[in-house]
């Protein structure tokens, strides 16, 4: 019986792994193909099924004037916007979450739970709802097609995530720690940054990772709100989706876009194994 369970478990884990890896393997294979290898039916293994070329990978560093995508600048833009948006969201979201976890707020019929829901409910809005008003607003502010404008929008996108995770996290940090700090002579701000903050690093790391994931993978806002100056990675890659799509370049670019977050996956796993994450998530 036990053997049966174990066999079943390994079988299931293996099957799922295959499912997870399959599109990546396909993308890796495709990234070495050319037009004929793509349109001649499914091919898999280089040299056996088709003659590999490096065109797809080389195109990542070529200018669009030579059929490439030149993802270096979009890559850096994406890194900046994601990092800055996450940072601002984490800072403001952590502060707000701390207030919502520790203090009681009343505003008419609104209580803490309602304010928390207000933050989280921003995620209910499909991007298409906000895209046009955002466009007009950023236009009025002269922030269209700027890194700053994108960061502003990403804050709206990401702060709800930071608040959601950090409220949960702070609810599990004993309030007595803050009280002790106050009694020991810290004013509420000092208590927060000298005592609460250093003990919230796991939560902040988790919230930061979620922000980075959701920021890095967003397409829609970046697509609507930028023109020629600030191009983000997903937008640059989707711009390869032509009527004669260079699948090889697109596959190579897709793989590159995943790479930085694979590092994030490793960090998440490390925190999981150390048990640090457990306190950070409900």
């Amino acid at each position: 019986m036990r053997l049966f369970y174990i066999t079943l478990k390994y079988l299931a884990v293996t099957l799922w792994s295959v499912f997870v890896i399959a599109p990546f393997l396909w993308a890796i294979s495709t990234s070495f193909k050319d037009f004929q290898s793509v349109t001649g039916g499914a091919t898999y293994i280089p040299w056996v099924d088709f003659e590999p070329t490096l065109d797809g990978w080389q195109s990542l560093f070529k200018s669009p004037a030579r059929g490439g995508v030149d993802i270096v600048e979009p890559f850096l833009n994406s890194v900046f916007v994601t990092a800055a948006g996450s940072l601002v969201s984490i800072i403001l979201g952590t502060l707000a979450a701390y207030a919502l976890s520790r203090y009681t707020f009343k505003a008419g019929p609104m209580r803490n739970g309602d304010i928390t829901f207000f933050f989280i409910s921003q995620r209910i809005m499909p991007p298409v709802v906000l895209a046009i008003p955002f466009f007009i607003m950023l236009g009025k502010l002269g922030l269209l097609d700027t890194l700053l404008g994108l960061v502003l929008v990403y804050v709206v996108l990401l702060m709800p995530i930071a608040v959601w995770i950090m409220v949960d996290f702070f609810n599990k940090v004993p309030q007595e720690i803050d009280e002790t700090a106050l009694i020991d002579g810290c004013n509420p701000f000092q208590a927060f940054y000298k005592v609460v903050l250093p003990n919230s690093i796991p939560g902040i790391i988790v919230a930061g990772m979620f922000c980075m994931i959701f920021g890095w993978t967003d397409f829609f806002f970046a697509f609507i709100l930028t023109f020629t100056e600030v191009q983000l990675l997903p937008v640059a890659i989707v711009a390869l989706n032509s009527s004669i799509t260079p699948w090889w370049s697109l596959s190579a670019a897709a793989l590159v876009s995943v790479a930085p977050l694979v590092v994030v996956a490793f960090i998440v796993e490390r925190y999981l194994s150390k048990g640090n994450l457990s306190g950070a998530l409900k």
Binding site: E179, A181, L182, I183, D184, G185, V195, N199
Partner: protein
């Protein structure tokens, strides 16, 4: 130096509540607040610390308004029941934290921290991380951090309740000796507890709290000898004082047709009528002559045996200072030491005490 509380009140809001609290506390004394869980002890301590603002009433320290000073400027220290320390700091940094916050000189910090650590028996632990300590050691760190401030008011909120029995006994002894030296200095020490024994052992003044009110404030001895109400008698005795209804008349006390006995001498002058009588478990033993009771349950605790006894409507807990076993339902003869009998009016206030207290 004195701390005066006048009419502190806090309307029920979730778990916090205070109801018209008044007291005066003097320096160099230990005050033990005793009360059941949720009786308002922690609320009162946090109010004194400044973590909770009362709805009304005030606190005055040495003639100055204390209640309006924010918590971080009040000269208080507090130890929690949950071993609260700063997990990201070492033992040394934890103890030094309040001093650094105050801007004390480095050298002085060092001296005072090392001194405080030795007071609580943690020499050599200064560079340890908090998580690497046992619960008892963590609580010692918390205590050291409170002592090092030499605050005017030291608050201890059930500091031993989460420790195991042995450690609790040991730490309590240490606390006592630390407090005795500490209390000789210029602090007011306020200690809260649910455990009557602990309160009695610490000596000093006792404040009995229930439902946000102070029921009685007196020395430990006085509270023990003359609990001013049935409620106090319940809260300050473990096991709770036995209470039963009966009549006083013609020099006799009648509990039931079978249980009647002569009125003790200290009841002289007690008007005839119906009373609630109180008798501690120690005053109820088995004897050759006495009243017939049935054993409901017997528990052995250390070298003693608690007996849960029943006679018609009367339920009592008695205490034998030896280990014996009984079968449930067994009939026994129970002896009352009536020289320790209390009489309370039916609404609960003390009418007569074996120690001759308030009549």
């Amino acid at each position: 130096m004195s701390l005066i509380a006048s009419n502190l009140s806090l309307k029920p809001d979730e778990q916090y509540h205070l109801d018209d609290i008044c007291f005066e506390m003097l320096q160099g004394q230990i005050y033990t607040i005793i009360g059941r869980t949720l009786s308002g002890k922690t609320t009162l301590l946090k109010t004194i610390a400044g973590l909770i603002a009362p709805d009304s009433g005030g606190l005055v320290l040495d003639g100055n308004d204390f209640g309006s000073i924010p918590v971080w400027k009040r000269e208080v220290a507090m130890v929690y029941q949950q071993f609260i320390n700063y997990p990201h700091l070492t033992v040394y940094e934890n103890v030094a934290f309040p001093l650094k916050q105050r801007g004390t000189q480095k050298a002085e910090i060092h001296n005072r921290v090392m001194n405080a650590l030795s007071q609580v028996g943690l020499e050599g632990f200064q560079s340890r991380k908090i998580q690497a300590l046992s619960g008892g050691q963590q609580q010692r760190v918390a205590l050291a951090r409170s002592l090092v401030k030499e605050a005017k008011i030291l608050l201890l909120d059930e500091p031993l309740v989460n420790l195991d029995y042995k450690l609790r006994e040991q730490l309590r002894e240490e606390f006592k000796s630390i407090f005795n030296t500490k209390a000789s200095a210029d602090s007011i020490l306020i200690y809260s507890s649910t455990d009557p024994v602990e309160a009695m052992q610490l000596g000093g003044q006792i404040l009995v709290m229930d439902e946000g009110r102070i029921l009685q404030q007196a020395s430990a001895k006085e509270v023990y000898e003359n609990p001013n109400s049935t409620k106090v008698s319940q809260i300050t005795n473990d096991p709770a004082m036995n209470l039963f209804e009966g009549m006083v008349g013609e020099g006799k006390i009648i509990l039931s047709p079978e249980i009647q006995f002569d009125s003790p001498t200290h009841f002289k002058g007690l008007p005839e009528g119906t009373y609630t009588f109180g008798l501690r478990a120690v005053a109820i033993t088995l004897g050759e002559i006495g009243f017939p009771f049935a054993i409901e349950l017997s528990e052995i605790s250390g070298s003693e045996t608690f007996l849960h006894l029943k006679h018609n409507e009367i339920n009592l807990v008695g205490l034998l200072d030896s280990v014996q076993s009984f079968s449930i339902g067994e009939k026994v003869t129970v002896k009352f030491d009536i020289s320790h009998l209390y009489a309370f009016s039916t609404d609960g206030s003390l009418k007569s005490s074996p120690y001759g207290g308030l009549m």
